[in-house]
């Protein structure tokens, strides 16, 4: 009885799915999905070589310092970094005094609410403050950058590719998709999800940022450094994680060998 009912119900499901399948196939035949400009012109991020890649990956402090400089001079005009605190910058190799000055000099000041007067006043940032939120009234919504490399597929490569990916809209695209012209106020970037980004090209020429450590400042270098910095901002514990990971895996391998030996030892007289 159970089986008879089951076969009927099963046949019902199969019938409904066959019916749906029929319409799906019919839909594909009569109205084949048309390729879109995004399908054909969106590009996968370019590989970027960073010290943090791989099993033994860790951060290159000098590169992070350069990246911080790019963030400060270029990105921070529009993008917040609210999950990162000034104190975290000790991991980039700054001294406590340098940090204190860096925080105090930061152009966006910390907000302070006075519950008696109801006024909001400003004060210089201290190392324990988080990077203050940047409010951006213009077109587009510049995302907070503290987690950007984790919030995008292949984040570091994405940041690097996006920053170096601005170009004129290809003629081939316009020829095939005449309606896909870049809207006014947006910029063509094949690494952006819908190809048209509101952010104007932030890195326009070599030497835009003058590195304190003497590294030659090119757009490529700036993009790579800021990608490294944002990778750190999103995952500051990566070097610790990798170090612990190797130790833990080493221990577990040792344990597995011992446990296997004990298992074989205990079972040695039992056929199974």
């Amino acid at each position: 009885m159970v089986r008879a009912i089951a076969i009927l119900i099963g046949a019902g499901f199969v019938a409904v799915l066959s019916w749906a399948l029929f319409w799906s196939i019919q839909g594909v035949i009569t109205d084949p999905p048309a390729p879109t400009a995004v399908d054909e012109f969106h590009l996968h991020p370019k590989e970027v070589e960073l010290a943090s890649n791989g099993f033994f990956g860790t951060y290159d402090q000098r590169q992070l310092q350069r990246g911080l400089q790019v963030y400060k001079e270029v990105c921070s005009n529009c993008h917040s970094l609210k999950h990162v605190a000034f104190r975290d910058l000790t991991q980039l190799g700054y001294s406590a005094a340098q940090l204190k000055k860096f925080a105090a000099d930061w152009s966006v000041k910390a907000k302070q609410f006075d519950p008696k007067s109801g006024d909001t006043t400003e004060r210089p940032n201290t190392p324990s403050d988080y990077f203050p939120t940047v409010y951006y009234p213009g077109t587009g919504n510049p995302p907070d950058l503290s987690l950007i490399t984790k919030a995008r597929h292949e984040g570091p490569a994405y940041v690097y590719s996006l920053l170096t990916g601005y170009r004129d809209q290809p003629a081939a695209l316009l020829k095939k998709f005449p309606d896909a012209k870049v809207p006014d106020g947006l910029y063509y970037n094949p690494y952006f999800a819908n190809l048209n980004i509101a952010m104007p090209p932030p890195l326009t020429q070599d030497g835009q940022v003058t590195y304190l450590d003497g590294t030659k400042s090119t757009v490529q270098q700036n993009a790579k450094d800021v990608a490294a910095f944002l990778t750190w901002a999103a995952e500051p514990n990566l070097p610790t994680r990798h170090a612990y990971g190797l130790a833990v895996l080493g221990f577990l391998l040792f344990f597995c060998i011992l446990a296997y030996g004990a298992y074989q030892n205990i079972w040695r007289d039992i056929k199974h």
Binding site: A6, L147, A234, C256, K271
Partner: protein
């Protein structure tokens, strides 16, 4: 417990005797997972996964309790509190990554455990109750995992909550009322987040309770084995301890090694980047997918694209999705073949592997965007899924001619080893002579 040759607990000291007379807990443990539980001697590594599932639950409960010491279930701060755990709490990144990847490990282990049961017919008499409790655990796990995924309050959390509670709005007449009741509002917000947190904390303990019943039910008939043949005598079994505790210890080591590799070196590989974007009620991500362990069921949901004799596609999809799990409750009665192990069921064995492939294909479709090609593949695979359980199994369990079964577990072991002499299977290279 169930076998007459099972050893009985004998307290060795005055103290353990005193305990045993007042609260025979050591006796219970001895009979459940100690030397007092006789287990078939021929279990293969697939039998490690029950213990591993228990270990995974323990890991989730322990890491979850400590994470709850830092997490705040409020829409305004939930996302930030998770970032606080990741950045500032001592070892917080470790605990959070362990919990997030631990959920995946739990599902991997449980899926293997379920498919082991399907292959070796562990759901058949007299083990139906174990199977029913197991399916209940699976349902509870899915509910727990879903609510846990909402807690970080990222974009996928929010839209996952929106979509999954949307299932209930498919119910005719009262659907929308139920959905609003579930959420405590018109969209996921503080009320929903708080109740999900409360239930996410509660359900693992319910799961632990059902696991105790699952193990209790297991100890009535005893464990199944790769031959599916009943235990005939003492020579067919070994005591759980030390034999299977040793084997499970090794299995646990391998499990933890894989878990640690994931946790320390690819902790975000199974997550979705959009969940690192704070929840935004006004913007849906381009491509919403649940966590990987729900993908096959998500594909079944999406396979129902057209109305059928007046039943809306949305309702059909939801019914099919829940049905695809609920039908497992009936499996013991759908499969009437007296032979348990697929090793002796040539026809069933083929369909079993087709099912495995089918579920993998469904998973692949469920994780992909709902483009026409993936929908078509989902429809074919979903049709096979239902046909497998509801049509093919009932039919082949009658039609199939099983191959000859061994007379006993011991006979099967001997046949496999091809030995009549008590060959020494000690560690190779050891110079210690046999007694």
């Amino acid at each position: 417990m169930s076998f007459p040759w099972a050893k009985h607990y004998e307290p060795k000291s005055g103290f353990t005797k005193w305990i045993d007379e007042r609260l025979p807990l050591p006796r219970l443990v001895y009979g459940a997972v100690g030397a007092g539980y006789p287990v078939p001697r021929n279990l293969n590594y697939f039998w490690n996964f029950g213990v591993l599932a228990g270990a995974a639950l323990a890991i989730q409960i322990v890491t979850g309790i400590v994470l709850a010491m830092h997490y705040a279930a409020n829409g305004g701060v939930a996302f930030d509190s998770v970032e606080h755990i990741m950045r500032d709490v001592n070892g917080g990144w470790f605990l959070r990554y362990a919990h997030a990847n631990g959920a995946s490990m739990f599902f991997v282990v449980v899926y293997i455990h379920i498919f082991r049961g399907l292959f070796y017919g562990s759901y058949k008499a007299p083990r139906e109750m174990i199977w029913l409790l197991g399916v209940t655990i699976f349902l509870l796990m899915m509910a727990t995992a879903f609510m846990g995924y909402v807690l970080p309050w990222g974009q996928m959390s929010f839209w996952g909550a929106q979509v999954i509670t949307g299932f209930f709005s498919a119910i005719p007449v009262v659907g929308d009322t139920i959905r609003i009741w579930l959420l405590g509002g018109y969209a996921p917000d503080d009320a929903a987040l708080n109740r999900f947190f409360s239930l996410h904390y509660l359900l693992p303990f319910v799961i632990a309770g059902v696991i105790i019943l699952h193990i209790w039910a297991l100890h009535i008939p005893g464990s199944n084995n790769p031959t599916g043949v009943d235990v005939k005598g003492e020579q067919d079994t070994v005591p759980f301890h030390p034999y299977y505790t040793a084997k499970d210890g090794f299995g646990l080591g391998v499990f933890l090694f894989i878990f640690a590799a994931l946790l320390f070196f690819a902790p975000n590989s199974l997550g979705h980047p959009d969940n690192y974007i704070p929840a935004n009620a006004l913007q849906t991500p381009a491509h919403i997918v649940p966590e990987w362990y729900f993908w096959p069921f998500y594909a079944i949901l999406r396979a129902f694209t057209v109305d059928f004799i007046g039943i809306p596609a949305k309702l059909l999809g939801v019914l099919a999705m829940f049905g695809s799990i609920l039908l497992l409750f009936f499996l013991p009665w759908l499969d009437s073949s007296p032979v348990r192990s697929a090793n002796y069921r040539p026809l069933y064995r083929i369909f079993f592997w087709v099912l495995v492939a089918d579920v993998l294909v469904l998973g692949w479709c469920g994780g992909s965007p709902a483009t026409p090609l993936y929908v078509i593949i989902s429809q074919i695979s979903a049709a096979y899924y239902f046909a497998h359980f509801l049509i093919i199994i009932p039919i082949i369990s009658r039609a199939e001619r099983p191959t000859p079964l061994p007379n006993s577990i011991t006979e099967a072991v001997l046949a496999k080893k091809g030995g009549t002499s008590p060959a020494h299977t000690a560690l190779s290279g050891s110079a210690v002579p046999a007694e």
